[in-house]
Symmetry: C2
Subunit: 150 residues, 2 copies
């Protein structure tokens, strides 16, 4: 034990896959008594440099965020290009896709997890940082997303 | 909007269904560099007064908890009696089952959600409080657990 692979145990985000972000955003807004946030598209692939299972992908997703106390709840409606979002939605249906952690040293963290038998599934850039989804499902029964902000 | 059905947006717990709590607890302990917690059985049904879909159930589950920053991660290995745990595990496999919120006025909250088209799935007592799983999946794409502590 005592590997502490991420250097943190603080969950910063729960990501949920949905078919219709407009409808589910409205349901969350109604349920929690908050304004419905605007959803937005992730960056196009030339900017996001999205890689899925080792190949470049044009995949994008609509995202909407809700502040839930100490963490964010992220709704994700993917397009039909290859991505972990689309694959999970097609295979398992709507529901929780990942929990996210903010890390330092993204490259080293990815290498560390891969050496532990948890391969990189998808990675990309966003304004101000980058993300990586690691295939931790076999061990942890949920995917882990690493977030590194500049 | 502005219903604010629960009176809170603070997620206190994420619950994950597993087939083998011993193995998955060890994987979490290894991953996050913490001691493996001991799992324990939920109370027997005469004490827990478990009701599942309106009928008394003998269902119990093994539980293990990890502190993850501001919330708890709960691993759940159910027995084979009727429960939302067993039903979800059989239908959807391992993975996230619910997010939990601490509420006041359990009866009123259950009634409020049921009027909103989100029926009670399962409820029971534990030492120091009670829980209710509400079927919020259609709207929120995850089940919500209400927790009321005395």
């Amino acid at each position: 034990m005592a590997a502490d692979l991420l250097g943190t145990r603080t969950i910063t985000q729960i990501g949920i896959l949905v078919h219709d972000i407009e409808r589910t955003s409205q349901a969350y807004a109604d349920f929690f008594g908050v304004e419905k946030p605007n959803w937005f598209w992730t960056d196009p692939s030339d900017k996001a440099q999205t890689e899925y299972r080792g190949s470049r992908s044009e995949a994008r997703a609509k995202l909407a965020f809700f502040d839930m106390g100490s963490l964010q709840l992220e709704l994700i409606e993917p397009d039909h290009e290859p991505s972990t979002w689309r694959e999970s939605l097609d295979r398992h249906g709507e529901g929780v896709h990942h929990i996210a952690f903010i890390v330092e040293g993204m490259k080293e963290k990815i290498a560390l997890l891969e050496r532990g038998g948890m391969p990189l599934l998808q990675k990309g850039e966003y304004t101000g940082g980058r993300y990586a989804y690691m295939d931790t499902f076999k061990d942890l029964k949920v995917l882990i997303e690493l977030l590194e902000n500049d």
